[in-house]
Symmetry: C2
Subunit: 433 residues, 2 copies
């Protein structure tokens, strides 16, 4: 029995490691097309910033580690160019064939900037790999650019803007849609815009970029461009092998992460999964989901029987020291999904004043028909991650506002006010329901 895993970053390695736990004797091979495995892609903005000084700090495991400690063969520079499921084999670039009995596809996603002329200019960079980050660092050192344009206000774009600003550049972020972070939420976008502005970064939404010229993009003068306009799942291998692709454009998988081909699993940024709130397939590529789906896919591929519960779409990022977090659906997203959303947004101190309490903003969204919580956002300095995680836990349990309002949350002055901002928001929302 042999398990082949295509992809050696978060999902692929989680799958391989978990499969090994389930079956100590299984033959496991991980095929990674790049030169390194297991790097923390979410740390790339901090490598760009200079906070992470050595790219090796972002590499969690090496192929040697997996070979020696886990008895898993990890091959780098091994690019799969075809899957033949009837023959249960994959073909590598170069012609070599590798047999499998079970297969996990963890091919990830890639940067996607359609129809932007000049994207291949030498001052234009993506930020998806260690190599990308190092090339930008080198460019910063050698060319000393003074003005940067960041195309795309997703996580990578906003974190790159923060990192470049901290390196002394003037930065403008150009986002095609009306919102940042793919969250259809004008208040959230306004808060991000205000925080960026306060630290000298301009955010332009509704800014369609069609061409990158030598000295400007969409009228913004710049000598460095970060292209972070979006990602798309790497599904070509799967599609060519006859595996069903979902409506989101990512590989369709059931709650065991099995694809339409029996014995073939998909995990990580290339797969769509169930959204806990809508109950429908969604594609929200994040590292946490990649690890979790990798674990479940690996367990099942090794003969286990595990279920992936689904995602709430929880995310957080820091912009100049302020946390911006959200989970579940915004009002607009809830409406688009057929709910009848009601929301409450409050501002409250995150701690007493004598512990230097700062303002936290909490928004909660619920369904008017059922009182069920649908999502929320938290913006603030202290406790932002913890608060959005409480909302996420509530989404997992389909908690209603009247239950959420009574959560027995911890209180002590160094940590929170006696009424946590979450509970104040819930009380406000309960009045609206």
């Amino acid at each position: 029995m042999a398990l082949v895993v295509i992809g050696g970053v978060a999902a692929g390695l989680s799958a391989a490691a978990r499969a090994r736990r389930i079956d100590p004797r299984l033959e496991i091979v991980v095929l990674e097309q790049g030169p390194v495995i297991s790097y923390g892609a979410c740390g790339l903005p901090y490598l760009l910033e200079g906070r992470v000084r050595d790219p090796r700090q972002l590499i969690v495991y090496t192929p040697e580690y997996f070979r020696k400690e886990r008895n898993i063969e990890v091959r780098t520079g091994a690019r799969v160019i075809g899957i033949s499921h009837p023959r249960r084999e994959v073909t590598l670039h170069g012609g070599e064939r590798v047999r499998y009995e079970r297969l996990v596809i963890a091919t990830g996603a890639r940067s996607f900037a359609p129809r932007i002329a000049g994207a291949d200019r030498s001052h234009v960079f993506a930020l998806r790999t260690l190599d990308d980050a190092q090339r930008i660092r080198a460019f910063l050192g050698e060319r000393r650019p003074r003005r940067a344009a960041v195309i795309g206000a997703g996580y990578i774009g906003l974190e790159a803007a923060d990192a470049l600003r901290r390196n002394g550049l003037d930065v403008t972020v150009l986002e095609r849609s009306a919102n940042v972070l793919l969250r259809e939420d004008p208040h959230f976008t306004a808060a991000v815009r205000a925080q960026l502005h306060q630290h000298g970064v301009e955010l332009r939404t509704g800014a369609e970029v069609t061409a990158i010229e030598a000295g400007q993009v969409a009228g913004v003068p710049c000598d460095l461009v970060i292209l972070a306009a979006g990602v798309k799942p790497n599904t070509e291998l799967a599609a060519e092998a006859g595996i069903e692709i979902g409506r989101s454009g990512a590989i369709r998988a059931d709650d065991r992460l099995e694809t339409s081909l029996r014995g073939v699993y998909a995990a990580g940024d290339c797969a769509e999964v169930c959204h806990l709130v809508t109950g429908r397939p969604a594609w929200i590529p994040l590292g946490t989901t990649a690890n979790k789906t990798g674990r479940v896919a690996g367990a099942n591929a090794a003969g286990g029987r595990e279920r992936f519960a689904g995602i709430a779409g929880t995310s957080i990022l820091a912009i100049f020291g302020m946390g911006f977090a959200s989970t579940g659906l915004s009002v607009a997203q809830a409406r688009a999904e057929g709910f009848s959303p009601v929301a409450a947004r409050i501002e409250a101190l995150d701690r007493p004043r004598y512990f230097r309490g700062k303002t936290a903003t909490v928004e909660l969204v619920a369904d008017r028909a059922t009182g069920r919580l649908l999502g929320g956002s938290v913006i603030g300095e202290e406790g932002t991650a913890g608060r959005v995680n409480v909302i996420a836990a509530a989404l997992h349990s389909r908690l209603r506002v009247e239950d959420f309002e009574q959560l027995d949350l911890a209180y002590s002055p160094p940590f929170s006010p006696v009424w946590d901002p979450l509970l104040i928001a819930a009380q406000q929302l309960a009045k609206e329901l």
Copy 2:
């Protein structure tokens, strides 16, 4: 229709304010025996420390505020000495009688140090009121004590020890039981002991104190003693009125917070409430519960129909900058409640090293028979409150470990590692189940 509330701190004022929202025309009178209302008792250790410089910083509302803004009459120095339910009236010290149709009893709890001789000496202080804190401050300034003994390792005792040590005193904490914070959990106690020791405070457990002498307590030389050996609910008024007292010793109340007398409600530190995990009545007096039960009691007393879900017993305190938090049941407590507990305790970084990640310790306890999460503890610097709150939310929803393990928690390097310590603990626990 008149509502009388006995007690003007957390529960009583929450009840009055909420009753006003439910019924704008209700006559509402709050009777408080002390000189001030609405002070944040949890801030007292910080007043003692000197971080809070003015006691007025801890007073949230004044009687004038309630009178003018809420049309609620708040009387201070109004001590109720009897309740006659057949006549629907309370009698004040001095003889005045006040009629009610609905009554909320929020008489709180008091310091309780049985059989300690010398507890009335002039260098012995409790720490339950603003006045207590100010008297200790004055004593520190005038007498310049150098060595303090704190009797009792509950919240107030440990926070007072921290505060006194920061004022330069040598401090020893004497606790009668084997555990701190009433949590039967040797690991938790060991962690508290280590943190205290590292900052020069000695913790002696199993230390029975029977007498306080002029220069020493239980062999510990000291010139200042803080008596924080326990609290007991103020139930005498209720008991004399024929109201049923629960097995915990606090006033028994149903899930609407109504006592055994119809139309009479109890809330806050004098009442017992349902424990979410055990389903049985419990008495865990905390400010958060006082506020929540006050709200529900006030709503129902004003003609609403609300339910109090119960408590998880969530709590947190800071000891020299480290957070110690717990919720639900420890292993020993779970066993005593008839569960068959399994636990996993892990140490993990709370953030990546390049964001100065520190070790966080997470313990999760589950029931072997059902896989249901029963409780947990979190010890660490960053994110401790948020993490224990996620466990608390899971207890509200009776989540099982296999669900908890898949929680979609927020990740970004400034806030957490990609596998949050909570999820690592859950994975470990899942292996044990």
